[in-house]
Symmetry: C2
Subunit: 375 residues, 2 copies
């Protein structure tokens, strides 16, 4: 049984959910929407053991296990599997690629059914709420009435908050990690510079580059900026120090320091897997997201939703004060909320690598939630 559960995670496959059409927050309609998703573990008969994982900005549906012929497991495989935080011998774990993405779900690089050409900038501007809307359709398609938990870090955390706001009756619990109720001007600014870098690339062609190569250099620069914000100052010092790539300074404009080589590598590998227009649409959705004030959950209405909020001490992109604001608003409204700031040096990336503390907290939290759901 144990072996089977472990092995069943080894090879995973992306599945597709088709949605005829949805009305977006902007009022526009989107037809023939595909949502790519994966599942791990088994849905029980009562269908009350489903956990939805929502991914961060550059994530995808492949959260765990291995795709055939691929050596690298899914992006949260250290958290999903037998005996892990999201224990696949207990829970049915679902992860889908967001609307607007480029890993199977409909986005700007998908074929526009009207023109039979890629949407490019004819793709409508989407919001976090639109992403969650599609996830709700997926859950309906899977015939799950209520999720045991919705969980995600960074932009995934925004989707978690949006779930609690849009479909409070559809979730037992919510775990927003390293996230915010709204982007600060600094967060908007970093996203905007990334967008500008893409749009400044002559290869972007106002979004119509699909018959040629991507605006590689602009996209790589956007990604490099992102990577700086994902790491803490301290972690970068531990990882790179001021180590030179070669023995001495080159006195040239080629990368001298290890950190420069690392950023270049991360930029270059990113452009092979990510669509530049998706970068624009998804960052815009993050910047538009604002569930503060009256947009937040109403007072004492869905008190049965339990919240586990986590942040990381060294995360300066989504600093702890933003999680504390979430906790404050939840508490003021009477929600059952647990908050933990995990001590970590990894910066924003912590939610992907600080496995031990997150695992303990999530196991304990989900057991409580499951117990109540079954009672």
């Amino acid at each position: 049984m144990t072996e089977h559960s472990e092995n069943s995670l080894l090879i995973t496959k992306v599945k597709l959910c088709k949605i005829e059409n949805i009305i977006l927050e902007s009022g526009k309609q989107l037809r023939d929407v595909t949502i790519a998703y994966e599942t791990y573990g088994t849905l029980n008969e009562k269908k009350n053991n489903a956990v939805l994982i929502t991914h961060g900005f550059s994530g995808d549906a492949h959260a765990a296990g291995f795709h055939e012929h691929e050596a690298k497991p899914g992006w949260w495989s250290n958290m999903i599997g037998h005996g892990k935080a999201f224990d696949t011998s207990k829970y049915f774990v679902i992860c889908s690629n967001v609307l607007g993405g480029c890993a199977g779900s409909t986005g700007p690089s998908s074929l526009n059914p009207t023109s039979n050409k890629p949407y490019a900038l004819d793709f409508p501007i989407i919001t976090i709420s639109d992403m969650v809307h599609c996830q709700k359709k997926l859950i309906d398609f899977l015939k799950i009435d209520k999720l045991l938990a919705v969980v995600g870090g960074s932009m995934g955390g925004m989707q978690v908050l949006q779930w609690a706001i849009s479909y409070p009756e559809k979730i037992c619990s919510a775990i927003p990690i390293a996230t915010t109720m709204k982007h600060s001007p600094q967060q908007i600014a970093f996203n905007e510079v990334g967008r500008q870098a893409i749009m400044a690339d002559i290869g972007w062609k106002n979004g119509n580059y699909y018959d040629q190569s991507q605006p590689d250099r602009g996209l790589a620069i956007a990604r490099m900026i992102g990577h700086i914000t994902y790491m803490s100052d301290k972690f970068m010092q531990e990882k790179f120090s001021r180590n030179l790539k070669d023995k001495d300074r080159t006195f040239k404009f080629t990368p001298d320091f290890e950190v420069e080589g690392y950023l270049k590598y991360r930029g270059d590998t990113f452009v092979k897997r990510f669509d530049a227009n998706s970068y624009l649409y998804i960052t815009k959705a993050m910047d538009y997201f604002d569930v503060s004030g009256n947009n937040f959950l109403p007072n004492a209405k869905h008190k049965d939703i339990k919240f586990l909020v986590m942040s990381f001490s060294s995360d300066w992109l989504y600093p702890s004060y933003q999680s504390e604001n979430i906790v404050k608003q939840l508490t003021l409204r009477g929600y059952n909320t647990t908050y933990v700031e995990i001590k970590s040096t990894y910066g924003h990336d912590s939610f992907l690598v600080e496995v031990k503390d997150q695992t303990k907290l999530i196991i304990h939290f989900l057991e409580k939630v499951l117990k109540e759901a079954l009672s």
Copy 2:
């Protein structure tokens, strides 16, 4: 007298100092070097009231007063003038544009005497030590044997430290502000992304763009990244909040938020006054700078140099811990050192705008230094 001193600052002019040739830290020679400089106040007969101001990354020689037909005063005019921190009725204040710059001093946009065309990438890689070397030549040219003080923020602070190391016998005191003994990987990373943005611009043409327009968009993006790092998260929230430029979200990729418009404006105005290749050379000089360890001042040798080190609580680009490291090393070596962390919300820009606290501290410090110099 007072009136005259004030008026004498109103209109200032850039002057030029010619240096036949210098040997750079890289071993290369540079011929026919020009250093642009300005002076404010009067050099006394004993020539012991001279203060050298060293500028930050994008600064220039125009630190105070007004150029004819220009409405905006020099970049540190709130600190230099009659009754100000650098009181021009007492001190003779000098500021020069750094080697590698593009505001009068020799840099990559200058004519290469060998080819009679702009240097572009034939300009040799320069270091902070090379900049200071040129400043020393300027001081010699002005027949000043010893400076009362060398003062500067950010990259200016690096030059201050370099002065104390290269020419300790030539300075009575040093005021490094919001600076570091060496760039951290994070600081290098931000600079590198800026360089990559410039070099990715098709208009950069491997540096040979002088017969056409600059790589405007790449340079603007580099500057936008810079501006984000110059401001604190809190200050950005106070200045911009999430205010929209227009009444509602545009659902387009044009700037929606005020912060986006601000960055665009700062990027666009910067390209009109700054040379893209200078951006590459000067940031590289900053990244190469490393006076930690054995490169720092020797033990108890030039104990007569007094140090005033200042940092700003909200500066996350040059965080206080970097200034504290400077203070620690100075103290361990027996130097007379005063350190103040000024409470401020402006971030790294604080050194340009936190006038009141800096003024008090500098006036008091310089009076002590002057008293000892005269005794």
